[in-house]
Symmetry: none
Subunit: 83 residues, 2 copies
DNA sequence: AGGAATTTGTGCGTATGTATA
DNA sequence: CTATACATACGCACAAATTCC
């Protein structure tokens, strides 16, 4: 397990690819309480703007957290923090 | 011309590279009628999953068939079987 | 009622870096 | 050195459903 700084930014060229960095950062922010259970995290577009990555990268990071049971997605509504 | 089994899977390390195997398999499936003229074949991502190869490999195989006049691509819409 | 905005789903186009035969 | 393959990333466009005004 790698510790992530919830305030970190994405570093291109780092050993860990951006999508994994973002997944770690988002997980850290959830752990810190930035977004409460059953509440939505920012939209993909917002995360694209905030972290300066492509939408595909955001979606990949989200997919990782969905796979880990941290988030769940509701089409056309948003991505939420699992209770 | 080499005959291909439409139900074959990709074999790494075979004399023919994966992208050529896939091109042959897809051509065989088209010939068998899996996909009708003017209908789209599965997306690149689906083929990636189905055949266990990289997207670049799928794109190469498709490029071969486009070059042969078997398929045509409509940007942002899909890849279709030529009438 | 209705149309614009929002948000996720899905396609292809393209480029870069790494690894291997 | 070249061809092949894979992983990753960014961009752009359109669809479908929901939400907002």
């Amino acid at each position: 397990m790698v510790e992530f700084d919830p305030d970190a930014s994405i570093e291109h060229g780092a050993p860990l690819p951006p999508y994994r960095q973002l997944a770690g950062i988002l997980a850290a922010r959830i752990g810190r309480g930035d977004w409460q259970p059953n509440r939505s995290i920012p939209s993909e577009l917002r995360l694209v703007q905030e972290y300066g990555v492509a939408r595909a990268t955001v979606r990949r990071a989200v997919a990782v957290l969905v796979d880990q049971g941290v988030l769940f997605v509701v089409p056309q509504r948003g991505t939420f923090v699992k209770p």
